[in-house]
Amino acid sequence: VIKRPAWERQNWLLMPAALIFLAAFVAPLLYFLMISFWSVKARIMRPDLTLKNYIATWADYYDAIGSTLAIAFAIGALTTLLAFGFAYAIRFKCGRFEAPLLFLALVTLFGGYLVKIYAWKSILGREGILNQFLLWTGVIGQPLDALLYSVNAVVITLTYFLLPFAILPIYGNLRAIRPATIEAARDLGAGRWAVIRDIVIPQCEKGIVTAFTFAFLITAGDYVTPRFVGGGAAMMGHFIELQFSLGFNWPMGSAMAFTVMAVSLALVMLFRAGLRRVLQP
């Protein structure tokens, strides 16, 4: 056992973190949890202890919550799949192109969030690059309208935005798997898919879970992308924002936020437990 000097064993270095965490995160969150039980009369918040905000959330927005979580789950699954495929391919299959391809993934991380949205807007729009290309090649006779301002656009834009965030943790875990392990498994008679299923995926389970959690939770809370490219896609983040901005109903907004948060976290826990169970040998 290594004996460390006393000053290193104390926890004073945790203080700045704890202070910022408490002041900038825990305190406001508790305040809003409290507010979510208040009521609004004549557009003024009044201290109260009522559950009607939560009841109203479920009564009025159950379908929006459902569609938000469905979209978030689809984007989470799609992003995780693409990210795993990409990370696996560049780690084991692409040889010397590993570094440039990883660099490309990192470069997209540096593009601005709004810039990415606008970029996809210009690609998917009626006069956009994709439509013009399809018209030019003669695949379609007239421009497709369904590309932009639909759920498709939200899925494409958010998947694009979240891919680097999902690739990095999975790639980090794949780095730790030595090619020798895989070669050994192949020598012992395992097929290609058996190697991925029994050796690669179990070893990067943490990365997969992190990637999915990121993609799912960021999507579930996002409102900027649906607003810009989503058209009528009803995402909860949008309704929450309306309660805070135009609705002047902060208690309702807080209740909606906490409801979405709780349901999302429960779903993520479920996903983690499910994946762990599936991967058990």
């Binding site: 965490f21 490309l104 991380l109 540096f110 601005g112 009803a234 805070f244 936020a257």
Partner: protein, 260 residues
């Protein structure tokens, strides 16, 4: 035959990687700046920045993204980068046992998992004075550092988790005082990781829209003027507001509609 199928499998994976890379690369296309004219870059020239103060990499990135046409236009809120305190945390975390560190990591990364919207609104409310006229000093202090710090901590911790503490044990024996040890050895060892993490915090903060939009007072960071929040679009603000209210009303009528 077996070799052929194996080669085909590899080719499939390579094609997949290239396709995904193309998907990620499409909006980075340099010809993009033509398509991005709808952003109206002239509005982004909120005030001139001192070119010397902004790292060249940042400008290069902006140019790459096609957002600014001239490097000296636009404004960067470098204050948004709050990584200093985050730097210390992983050092402490790595000293705890694995179990305890995992719990602490879990607690600290909660803000990262929360929707930015909630963090933005919460921070805005908490740090506003009751009469709502007083704002945070400089009116644009970023108060959501908890979110950014979590990224930094995760990255640096993953490096420290595999750190061999035996080296620290040797330090007193070699006549090294603790502070010098921290500076010369610990920080020297982890400098690349820490700088990388700080850059990630910086880049995320630079582009952040949601938290900035809710907490910002006067002035703008680069992402916010687009929504009619800044002085240069003040004239069109009422119209925008009506538009927003109108479309919001339309959407509220159809809460479950998947598409229009």
């Amino acid at each position: 035959m077996k070799r052929v199928t194996a080669r085909l499998g590899d080719l499939g994976w390579q094609a997949f990687a290239l396709l995904t890379a193309a998907f990620m690369g499409v909006p980075l296309d340099p010809g993009r700046s033509v398509q991005l004219q709808s952003i109206r870059t002239d509005q982004l020239a909120v005030d001139r920045i001192h070119p010397g103060l902004v790292p060249k990499a940042v400008l290069a990135r902006r140019l790459l993204a096609g957002l600014v046409e001239q490097p000296d236009r636009g404004k960067f809120s470098l204050q948004s980068c709050r990584w200093q305190s985050a730097l210390w945390r992983p050092l402490v975390l790595a000293r705890h046992g694995v179990r305890r560190a995992e719990i602490l990591i879990g607690i600290i990364s909660i803000p990262m998992m929360l929707p930015a919207l909630i963090i933005g609104v919460c921070d805005d409310e908490l740090l506003r004075a009751p009469d709502s006229t007083w704002r945070w000093p400089a009116d644009r202090d970023p108060r959501a550092s908890g979110d950014r710090a979590a990224f930094v901590i995760l990255i640096v911790f993953s490096r420290l988790a595999t750190f061999d503490w035996a080296v620290v044990g040797q330090r007193p024996g070699s006549g090294c005082v603790p502070a010098a040890g921290l500076h010369d050895r610990d920080l020297a060892d982890h400098r690349p990781t820490i700088i990388g993490a700080a850059l990630i915090a910086l880049s995320i903060s630079l582009d952040d829209f949601v938290i900035t939009f809710f907490t910002i007072g006067a002035g703008n960071t680069l992402p916010t003027p687009g929504l009619g929040h800044g002085p240069h679009v003040a004239r069109s603000h009422p119209q925008r507001h009506r538009d927003a209210a109108h479309s919001a009303q339309r959407r509220l009528d159809l809460p479950g509609a998947a598409r229009e």
